[in-house]
């Protein structure tokens, strides 16, 4: 089983850059041969085209990100994406956003699924942000969960191998 790992988000947006920053950290770590860590922040359409042509087909995708959902700031959640898609107009809106520069977890998932390149198994590791403004640093509650989030990615990636 081949696993693709990344973190999604804009740079320098404080807690909202959680995925982006973690990607940088994970890219410098050693991973087992079945895990491939890749920057997937260069636009959903470009990523779907990259996945389409990449010689390795991935069975599992693990993405790290931040999303404001009204939880306790700093709360870390792991869940499987249920793969539910919006209607056609909604998908077209996502493609429109994607080609004009929006980088988001949701767009990435929807665009990749629409064009048939999304692995069957998608796991999201998501943090509730405290600070969403421009900034180079995480807020203390989010910074405190960085190590744990990376451990979660490792554990999810290994779980994939045990299946």
């Amino acid at each position: 089983m081949m696993v693709l790992v990344s973190g999604i988000g804009y740079s320098n947006m404080s807690d909202m850059s959680f995925g982006r920053v973690l990607y940088g950290k994970m890219a410098e770590m050693s991973w087992p041969p079945h895990v491939h860590v890749e920057d997937l922040n260069f636009g959903p359409v470009m990523i779907y085209q990259w996945l389409e042509e990449y010689p390795v087909k991935f069975d599992r995708l693990i993405l790290v990100g931040a999303a404001k959902r009204g939880r306790e700031p700093g709360m870390l959640e792991v869940y499987a994406w249920d793969g539910r898609m919006p209607d056609e107009a909604g998908i077209q809106a996502c493609v429109g956003e994607a080609i004009t520069g929006v980088i988001s977890l949701e767009n990435l998932l929807i665009v990749c699924k629409q064009f048939g390149v999304l692995p069957e198994d998608v796991t999201i590791i998501e943090i509730e942000p405290q600070n969403e403004e421009y900034g180079l640093e995480f807020s203390p509650v989010v910074a405190a969960r960085v190590g744990e989030a990376i451990e979660l990615v490792k554990s999810e990636a290994m779980r994939a191998r045990c299946r």
Partner: protein
């Protein structure tokens, strides 16, 4: 005389001065917007409706549109274009090292960051007194022709294209769809779509062949761009005085191969938009009024001549007219100037209907003249300050974060179509093997690949509307492609002669300096005005194509280009009940400008960065 409204005239040597006898030459009295009758009609008549579209979809960034439609008379009575978010780059850049502008302003757009980097570099080069070596200029030209080869198909097939697709036409004009299926496409032999109905099917979002091919085709120019600029869309290799890329003959070979891949597709695409436009005109000539407005446009030109560009303001008229796209202002279809200095002098920004404070209130004007001593308006970007002032939305007062840029106090629009228009009309294009500007058209020759060699001619159209904007954009694909092709050949030639230097050394000057980057984006006009002192930015002003196009009413009472285009648009769609009204004609009018708002508004739109519930997506609800 290029100015009709500004109090500036030129002597026989081309030197500008203020007209005599005018006491307060740039003063004006803002006209009040009267809406009483409109409000009364809205309250009284069931068929007069407020139409609010927020956001306008298939537009990058935050654009909302408000209109008042008379559904019985089938016309629009009022229109307001609304940029909903503050841009703020001017504020962010204040006090920074000027070189930061290259990388920060690039983030103004997720499609065309490189054009901002280049405009920033040209502004810096003027302020520093440096310019790139020939290969540096050629490289920039090439990369930014490639950028537009990504940009135009994206608009034609993924953003505006769906407005002409089967799903939209069948729903809003069933009789037209019937006719389209029976109408043979005149250029089917080349583009392989037998009927107009087949073209419309091809444009169906997510599934149509043209949509999917358009999506696929965005990859090829992006790859070539990345080979030369290092990455897309925010290159780190555009530097004052040239480029920092290390380029070899292999890079240009790789680019050349990718250009070859695009030639046949471009031939097909141009003829396909010709066929579609012709069909709409023939089906109902009223479509010529969709998005119509007077042919008033502005462009700064771009793609410098490597032997002429020296970045100086003193010589900007000369190097400007040597560009591969000629600068120009077009008023009522007539080219009134090709001089960059005159275009610059005519530029003013107004904020009477925008969420900004008037910077002239303190009565201090930073620059009374430009560097050549020509009179400068207090509303010119070199004098402007960005002073945000959020307030309540009011159609009579303030309703947008966009400003109202005007040229010679006239409403002008920007677009790649303005670029092809000014170039065609000026007839100044440098001599070359593939393109010719005739004074009334732009001819270009596309070489044989799988398809035969073909000659194309974009002619200045007799009417100006949504269809002509799209058609011109399709022709611009061919124009850009042949610019890129020419630049690759120039690069080979320079390398053969051993001229492989791509940048010039420089030092940041400490005194007060001003500069301007006269450049272009995929969507047209782009200027960066810069004031430096003590090695830091004192003032930075960006005017983008959408700043012009999405602008609100000006103090003289004139609506902005989107607004005017909608006011001139007849409602042609079929509907029995008012509730079935979709506004497709209005949307065709707006989208024909290729609206792209991130550079007009701010890159950070709060909610857009926060992912929506990925397990219970609400895209459609918001879309």
């Amino acid at each position: 005389m290029c100015f009709k409204n500004l109090p500036v005239e030129f002597d026989a040597q081309g030197n500008a001065h203020l007209k005599g006898g005018v006491v307060d030459p740039f003063a004006y009295k803002p006209r009040e917007i009267k809406r009483d009758k409109l409000e009364e009609l809205l309250a009284r008549n069931g068929h007069i409706k407020d139409v609010s579209i927020s956001p306008v979809t298939r537009v990058a960034g935050a654009l909302s549109f408000h209109a008042v439609a008379d559904l019985q008379a089938r016309k629009f009575l009022d229109a307001n274009s609304i940029a909903t978010i503050f841009r703020g780059y001017e504020v962010i850049l204040k006090g920074r090292d000027p070189r930061d502008a290259i990388y920060i302003s690039s983030r103004a757009c997720g499609v065309c960051g490189g054009v901002h980097s280049t405009a920033a570099c040209e502004a810096i080069e003027m302020a520093f007194g440096i310019s790139p070596p020939p290969l540096g200029t050629v490289l920039r030209n090439l990369a930014l022709a490639l950028d537009f080869l990504y940009d135009h198909p994206l608009h034609l097939f993924l953003l505006a294209g769906p407005d002409y697709s089967q799903v939209v036409v069948q729903a809003t004009s069933p009789a037209m769809w019937e006719k389209a299926q029976l109408t043979e496409a005149p250029n089917a032999e080349v583009h392989q779509f037998k009927t107009i109905g087949d073209i419309m099917k091809g444009l169906n979002p997510l599934s149509g062949k043209l949509y999917l091919d358009g999506l696929k085709m965005t990859r090829t120019p992006r790859e070539a761009y990345s080979v030369l600029f290092g990455k897309y869309p925010h290159p780190q290799t555009v530097v004052p005085g040239g480029m920092s890329s290390t380029v070899t003959i292999t890079d240009f070979n790789e680019t050349y191969t990718r250009l070859q891949k695009m030639i046949d597709w471009t031939k097909r695409m141009i003829l396909l938009w010709d066929d579609l436009t012709g069909f709409f005109y023939e089906y109902n000539p009223e479509y010529k009024k969709v998005g119509a407005r007077a042919a008033n446009m502005i462009d700064l030109g771009m793609w410098d001549d490597e032997n002429s560009y020296d970045a100086s303001y003193a010589r900007c008229n000369e190097w400007g007219e040597r560009r591969w796209a000629t600068p120009g202002a077009v008023i009522d279809g007539q080219l009134v100037t090709t001089k960059l200095q005159q275009i610059n002098l005519g530029l003013e920004e107004f904020v009477e209907h925008s969420y900004y404070e008037d910077w002239n209130q303190n009565g201090k004007q930073r620059y009374m003249t430009d560097p050549m001593g020509a009179p400068l308006s207090p509303n010119h970007p070199w004098n402007k300050e960005t002073l945000p002032k959020p307030s309540k939305e009011s159609w009579k007062d303030r309703y947008t974060w966009d400003t109202a840029p005007r040229w010679d106090r006239q409403v002008v629009e920007a677009g790649c179509y303005a670029r092809i228009w000014t170039t065609a009309a000026a007839g100044l294009m440098p001599k070359n093997d593939f393109m010719e500007a005739t004074g009334h058209s732009l001819k270009f020759h596309m070489p044989k690949t799988m398809l035969r060699e073909m000659n194309f001619e974009w002619k200045i159209p007799p009417v100006w509307n949504a269809f002509e904007r799209n058609r011109a954009r399709a022709y611009c694909m061919g124009y850009n492609l042949m610019i890129a092709y020419t630049m690759v050949l120039k690069a080979f030639d320079l390398l053969r002669r051993g001229e492989d230097k791509v940048s010039t050394k420089f030092e940041v000057p400490m005194g007060e300096r001003i500069g301007v980057g006269f450049w272009g984006a995929g969507r047209g006009y782009l200027s960066h005005h810069l004031v430096l002192d003590k090695g830091a930015i004192v003032n930075y002003q960006i005017v983008t194509p959408s700043t012009f196009n999405a602008s609100p009413k000006d103090p003289f009472g004139n609506p902005g280009p989107y607004e005017e285009a909608v006011l001139n648009t007849p409602i042609l769609e079929d509907f029995d009940k008012h509730s079935d009204f979709t506004g497709v004609d209005m949307l065709r009018a707006i989208r024909s400008f290729d609206p792209c708002m991130p550079c007009t508004t701010h890159i950070y739109g709060g909610e857009r960065e926060i992912v929506r519930e990925v397990n219970t997506c609400a895209c459609s609800a918001e879309g």
